[in-house]
């Protein structure tokens, strides 16, 4: 069973469960509150995933450490490359 099939299967099962509750396909007569919670679920999960992504990006931006050595190395490499291209005739 490929990964794609696994994911499709998992999503279908969850989607079927959601549709069952939202559209009352089996006439289970659940309390109204459960139906009210269930029907925005796909959008809710998307929004939560978006919030999590935003928070992760923000946190890693805030805690990123300066890399002095890498910065210096990069500057040297840029100078080297410019010099090399200048010799080969590229006008910067």
């Amino acid at each position: 069973m490929t990964k794609l099939l696994e994911w499709v299967f998992g999503v279908s099962v969850i989607g079927a469960a959601w549709a069952l509750v939202t559209f009352d396909l089996l006439n289970l007569r659940l309390p109204e509150a459960y139906k009210e919670v269930a029907w925005p679920m796909p959008v809710y999960l998307l929004v939560v995933f978006g919030c999590y992504s935003l928070a992760t990006v923000g946190y890693r931006v805030a805690t990123f450490n300066d890399c002095e050595e890498a910065s210096k190395e990069l500057q040297d490499q840029i100078k080297e490359a410019k010099e090399d291209l200048r010799i080969k005739g590229l006008k910067m």
Binding site: A33, Y44, L46, Y52, G58, Y59, V61, A62, D66
Partner: protein
């Protein structure tokens, strides 16, 4: 350490996403179990908007990304050769 501005922006993003998560979770998951005459309901719109508003936001995001790509592609078109 990240510079002051980076920290401010990063922590701002974290705070904003926490606020959004809390408000939206209360709206979608908590409110249906609260009596309809409780005072907290006045701070939230009708339930339909909890799906419509993110839908509109997603639409705006897609349009912005598409417009940006379109503008950049248009600016970089060359008459005969395409790099």
């Amino acid at each position: 350490m990240a510079t002051g501005e980076d920290q401010a922006v990063g922590m701002g993003l974290v705070g904003f996403s926490l606020l959004l998560f809390t408000y939206y979770t209360i709206w979608v998951i908590i409110l249906p179990f609260v009596d309809s005459d409780h005072v907290v309901h006045q701070y939230f719109l009708q339930r339909e908007y909890s799906v419509i508003l993110p839908g509109i936001a997603a639409l705006i995001l897609l349009l912005s990304v598409g417009t940006f790509i379109g503008v950049v592609t248009w600016k970089n078109r060359k008459p005969k050769k395409v790099d």
